[in-house]
Symmetry: C2
Subunit: 244 residues, 2 copies
DNA sequence: CCAAAAGTGTTAACAGTACACCCATGG
DNA sequence: CCATGGGTGTACTGTTAACACTTTTGG
């Protein structure tokens, strides 16, 4: 949304800039809640901090939004900043990962250094891509932790609260938005999709009833039969793919 | 969430501050989508801008977040900033108005002056309080515009998009969260509550079926019968109040 | 008395839940 | 051949939607 400035307004704007830059401004970061589902539970990507504050603590990946010089060059959008951080931390390309804004955390003193406002995002990574994440990262110590049973120790800053907000959000959303499909491989079985629902909501679903629900998704054109079968320990299962 | 800084970390933090302040930072504002329901349609509060850019355009109420000096004094939280702006623009006290964070808009060039990131909030004002709003404001030109039929002309900045986002949000939320009760007087009739649903979703509801839905709210303890009746042109209706 | 809103009742369609049961396969 | 997950069917319950109907009031 680029607006041009009429010549008549230019003097006002210069005056404004001079006044505004005299006032302190907050730093703005993007923080990422990166989630996947593996072995029937929900997992979160954490990075180990190297610098104070909270040196050696586990924290959400994130970083400062690039603002340019703030005037002629206004830098990157928040979405671009989130995608850039995601790529830097996971090595995964933009189009392979679901990314959506979560909430903005801006209490005073949430960072002891200075006023920092954090725009939090959550990302959903397919389980077939998740194993490559740790390798792709630039030497920083990263780790997937399970959120289902072994909830991790306290995180840096207010990151615990951010994680809680993200989990609440996807729980509320999984039943009416097609986000579960971002947490299964490109082709998947009914049981695999059910496992995602179970991991997110922390409860078991009746296999038979879930199957009927799945049939409605087929009727609605949301998913379609894919060629082949999944050969596991027991009876092979039909595989499906997400449409669009 | 106040974290104390260990003495051993202080030198790092000072170094960090010196480095960080050298980089440009964005300005951060809060913008408010203030809504009410009157005469069976959804209304939005707009203010007329006096200063460039967009002088004389209609825009959402809002203003800069107070950051203090950014270090020892980190200023006000985003929620406090939103409540402060709400009080300044409407004169309504904190506890009379529902206020919730909406989304953060941070594209580059959304403000021609400089990089501005806007944390948008939406507020729901009871119709019995809405008439006092224009009076309470500090001489700025303000106006309620209908969103249901006569959608207003283009707004300043990306405020049209912010309004759209707010309307989408409350439409999605009205069916599972008790936000409709923030858009009726303290005591209300079934028809009045139905009018709120109709204004928000832009569709008519069968009076009889809505009544049954309302009965479930009573069973769930969400609403309770209030003393008296509403005397209008026709047959008087029972009045109810929201519980908790 | 009559228009119009308040309020009651009936029915069909459909989604959620619990559970019984058959099917196909690898070990 | 058998344990196990894949897959089918059924009965019960509660919710939604459409609509016919009665009641109560002001003008």
């Amino acid at each position: 949304m680029k607006h041009s400035i009429p010549d008549t307004e230019k003097p006002f704007i210069d005056a404004y800039r001079a006044r505004a830059t005299a006032y302190p401004r907050p730093s703005v970061t993007v923080d990422l809640v990166i989630l996947t589902v593996q072995d029937t539970d929900l997992k979160l990507l954490l990075v180990r901090r190297k610098q104070p504050p909270f040196a050696d603590w586990w924290a959400l990946p994130g970083g400062f939004v690039r603002v340019g010089d703030g005037f002629e060059d206004q830098g990157e959008s928040l979405l671009d900043a989130a995608h850039r951080e995601l790529a830097e931390e996971t090595g995964l390309p933009r189009d392979k990962v679901f990314l959506e804004q979560l909430y903005t955390f801006g209490d005073a003193d949430r960072d002891p250094r200075m006023r920092v406002i954090s725009v939090a995002w959550y990302a959903l990574v397919r389980p077939d891509l998740a194993p490559f994440v740790t390798a792709g990262s630039d030497a920083a110590e990263v780790r997937w932790v399970s959120l289902s049973h072994e909830r991790p120790e306290a995180l840096a800053f207010d990151h615990d609260r951010i994680v809680d907000t993200a989990v609440e959000r996807i729980r509320g959303k999984v039943d009416y938005a097609p986000i579960a499909f971002d947490l299964v491989p490109p082709t998947f079985t009914v049981a695999e999709l059910r496992a995602v629902y179970e991991a997110i909501n922390g409860q078991r679903y009746d296999a038979s009833n879930f199957r009927r629900r799945f049939k409605r998704m087929i009727d609605d054109g949301l998913v379609a039969r894919a060629p082949g079968k999944r050969h596991t320990a027991r009876r092979p299962a039909a595989v499906y793919s997400f449409v669009r």
